[in-house]
Symmetry: C2
Subunit: 128 residues, 2 copies
């Protein structure tokens, strides 16, 4: 895929997440995906996302910046949401928080095989 | 600049930082640079970096992942260093810590005009 094609494919992945369209997740995520050094595989990755939506009922992924340099994508995601309990070890307890995630992805055969993510925890702490 | 040219130019910026070659910083950083929403300008940006090296005497920037999608660069930086006192509000006090920074840059006329950086504070906390 060209850079623009890979960027469009990535946008489809974000649409899939926001729709919680889990049967389609395998179109975007590789069976042996690794997330921040953990070998989750597709089912573990899906379980992580389902858990995120359970912990944050109004979770929505918003793309701020998007770079495509095949086979990699880098994205700055914006969140404005209300974790119901604990999040990143912080007691949020239903407070609304806004924060960002700077995340890198590597694709193989149109599917994400590795993710390197950093969430701006300090920004959340500053809002508590 | 093409993608590979911008990536090479960015590598020169990292060489400049590690050499603490402050008179050359203006070759890479715009006079009106904004860092995480703060309008620092070149002198404020330089002061921030000088402060980082003062707080972390063995600071060294290591590029892990590098994406170039002109006019933007995304980089995952690795650090393995020894902050002498407080860092990100954490009392490090001379302990060696390893952590990453996922950071986006926008260039204009070969110079960085905006930076969006997230440091993995949770990873540092886990080492204390």
């Amino acid at each position: 895929m060209t850079g623009p094609e890979l960027a469009n494919h990535y946008r489809g992945y974000i649409v899939c997440l926001n729709a919680q369209a889990w049967p389609q997740l395998g179109d975007f995520v590789h069976g042996h995906v690794v997330h921040n050094g953990r070998q989750l595989g597709l089912s573990g990755y899906r379980d992580m996302l389902i858990g995120n939506f359970a912990d944050i009922p109004d979770l929505r992924f918003n793309i701020g910046l998007l770079l495509s340099d095949p086979p990699r994508v880098a994205s700055r995601l914006y969140f404005d949401c209300t974790p119901s309990g604990e999040f990143l070890g912080l007691a949020i307890d239903g407070q609304r928080v806004a924060f960002t995630e700077n995340v890198f992805y590597e694709f193989r055969e149109r599917k994400i095989v590795e993710v390197w993510s950093v969430i701006d925890k300090a920004a959340i702490e500053a809002q508590l």
